[in-house]
Amino acid sequence: EDITEFRIGLLGGENAQDRMNNNECLRAKTEELLGVPTKLFAPADYNGVIQGLLGGTIDMAWLGASGYAKTYLSDPEAVEPILVKVNVDGGYGYYSVGFARKDAGIEDLEAMKGKVFGFGDPNSTSGFLIPSIEIPEATGSTMTSGDYFGEVKFTGGHEQTIVAVYNGDIDAGVTWADGLGEWEDGYNSGALRRAVDAGLVDMNELVQIWQSKPIPEGPVVLRKDLPEDVKVKFTALMASLPSIDPDCAYGVLAGEAKGLQPIGHDAYEVIIEARKLKSN
């Protein structure tokens, strides 16, 4: 069967229109390649894209690892991972980092006892899933409000977490970073770096209090129902994007990247297990 339309879902984290603009080149190339109208959709949160993939109203998206796990757990037949972004250093992992205000005198998890701790979006790997598993391992108690931390809440996203910590609304939070470069720059890439670039925070006033083990970068996924030739063509296009149009790749992949490499479902088993663990 043929498709009449190709729909690309864009994950949150940036101004909706910026996302649209950054991905416009990909849309044009795909339209040219597949010969069907191609559209971009930027729902308000992670869940919007996931629901779109599950409902069959979105054909392609670049998910986070946890988002992929959620999609898989809801319906294993919905999507398949095709590619993953490779960092400039050759790896395809990043970290969840915990941070707090320097003047609050908090330097490690120990000092967070009884304080307010913030996650980002529940569907975020680095903003919730991984820290919600690894931090209890480190502290030896659960993440329930009042158990170790005084209160645990969701801020809604990476940007909100950073601003909330910076403003002192919460004592510490987690977000993602590539772990490369300098802390005072907010690392080479990640949510902190973006906040610094935007002039939102002064890294001198923040300290890192925790860092996770490496987290696999989220996959670019396609809907399984798509015709085989569409999958092949699109995968080829994506994979060659950094070489044929680096500017476009910079926008689509949200920063410098070495390239994309194929990846399968197996790479995410760990995350899926972790996520299962979190579901009661």
Partner: protein, 441 residues
């Protein structure tokens, strides 16, 4: 005229009692309100909030909403210097160009922040900032040794924030940030820069008269094109978003009215003889209304994906409940005489409804529908923020990224204007249609 003394006393005692009761009531109500508000005061932790409230945020919000900043940045690894409005890629000055207050040189770049504040980027990442009334601050960032800042006084004032690897100087003229990788200067200006044309447009920087003159001189299409596709303010996208929002409200409201009208007959006592049908229909209405547009939006976005149609359908379903309830109440209040009059001529049931019922209820229904049209414009803004579409999404995203406050205020103004316009329009239509409706004069 006078009444017996004891009777008068009785009346007085009665009145005293009456007034002490009134006193209780007049104290009781405010006391209840006060007690509740006190409870709210503590349960919402307002004292704590007063401490947490961040005046800086408010200030930056207000300042940002009517001003913009231009960044001049040097990459300390490559030595490249770039200037960009709001530090955004789309606001970047072309290679080798800069605003007139930045003097680009081969080795030395002089940035005049105004009021005597001058920042100089020298060779080997050297940077100096001459602050009037304070002195010259210099720094020489390097990977090995950090920022190496030198201040004219021993005591560092609080507007300077310095550590080994980072230095930030904030003055009323602008801000200088130096890290090992980057040296960056902000200068603030009033207004919404690039609102009409971006830097790459030939019309940027021209006066209104000049642009008009060139537009009239045959370049109207180009002028419009440059304005309409402005990458910074995205007038086209904003227009589409507002249109989408109004579209959601319109489709939702009208669709709901069309669906609800026949159903309302089933729920009206005087038109639906079967109690069961009536009750079932009413419970459906309650359900549609009770579930709320918010949840319908979530349910529907699985089936229909993000976009305006989903929002419209969510409004449609919720309002079918509201309209169904209101319409059936209106139907229950119809004047039976008119229907009987039509019935006595041997009219068929449909005709009976058409002439006996519809003319009676149209004014009521129309004014309800139009009232909802206005209020749904507001709902559509909110639904858009959740389901992904329209001006609501643009607004929430702009707020979440927390930097483009001028865009935020622009969207807020547009939203208020949009809602007020819809309010005005629905009021106008209501007066027009109800005064001279289809059959009257």
């Amino acid at each position: 005229m006078s009444i017996a003394a004891n009777e008068g006393d009785f009346l007085k005692v009665q009145a005293d009692r009456h007034f002490s009761r009134k006193k209780m009531v007049s104290f009781g109500m405010p006391a209840l309100v006060l007690a509740y508000l006190t409870y709210i005061f503590f349960s919402f932790d307002i004292p704590g909030l007063a401490q947490r409230i961040d005046a800086d945020n408010a200030r930056s919000l207000v300042a940002d909403s009517y001003s913009y900043k231009t960044h001049v940045t040097r990459d300390n690894r490559s030595g490249e210097i770039s200037a960009a409005i709001e530090g955004e890629r789309k606001g970047t000055y072309a290679e080798g160009t800069a605003p007139e207050w930045v003097t680009l040189g081969d080795t030395e770049t002089v940035i005049d922040l105004g009021d005597g504040h001058v920042v100089t980027f020298g060779a080997d990442n050297f940077v100096s900032y001459d602050v009037p009334g304070y002195g010259l601050i210099t720094a020489q960032p390097s990977r090995a040794k950090g920022v190496q800042a030198v201040f004219p006084t021993d005591e560092v004032p609080e507007w300077i924030n310095a550590s080994k690897n980072r230095m930030a100087i904030t003055t009323e003229a602008g801000r200088l940030t130096v890290t090992r990788n980057r040296t960056e200067v902000f200068r603030y200006f009033m207004g919404w820069e690039l609102f009409f044309f971006t830097l790459d447009s030939p019309y940027h920087g021209l006066g209104f008269g000049e642009v008009m003159a060139r537009a009239l001189g045959g370049e109207a299409a180009d002028v419009w094109q440059d304005f309409w596709t402005n990458k910074m303010w995205r007038h086209q996208d904003v227009a589409w978003a507002i249109f989408e929002t109004i579209l959601m409200a319109f489709l939702g409201t009208m669709g709901a009215a069309i669906v609800a009208l026949p159903l309302a007959f089933l729920a009206a006592k005087n038109f639906s003889p079967f109690v069961v049908v009536r009750q079932v229909t009413r419970r459906f209405f309650d359900f549609f209304r009770g579930v709320d547009a918010l949840i319908w939006t979530i349910i529907l976005s699985r089936a229909f994906g993000p976009g305006p149609l989903t929002g419209a359908l969510a409004i449609l379903i919720t309002d079918t409940g509201s309209f169904g309830k209101m319409f059936s109440e209106a139907l229950e209040n119809v004047d039976q005489k008119q229907i009987e009059g039509i019935q006595s001529t041997g009219a068929k049931p449909l005709q009976r409804y058409r002439f006996g019922v519809i003319p009676q209820v149209t004014p009521v229904l129309l004014s309800q529908i139009l009232y909802y049209l206005e209020s749904n414009t507001r709902s559509a803004t909110i639904i858009g923020a959740i389901t992904g579409g329209g001006i609501g999404l643009m607004l929430t995203q702009a707020i979440i990224t927390q930097k483009d406050w001028e865009e935020v205020s622009y969207y807020i103004v547009l939203i208020i204007l949009m809602v007020m316009a819809m309010d005005w329009f629905s009021g106008w239509l209501r007066r027009k249609l109800i005064a001279g409706d289809d059959s009257g004069r």
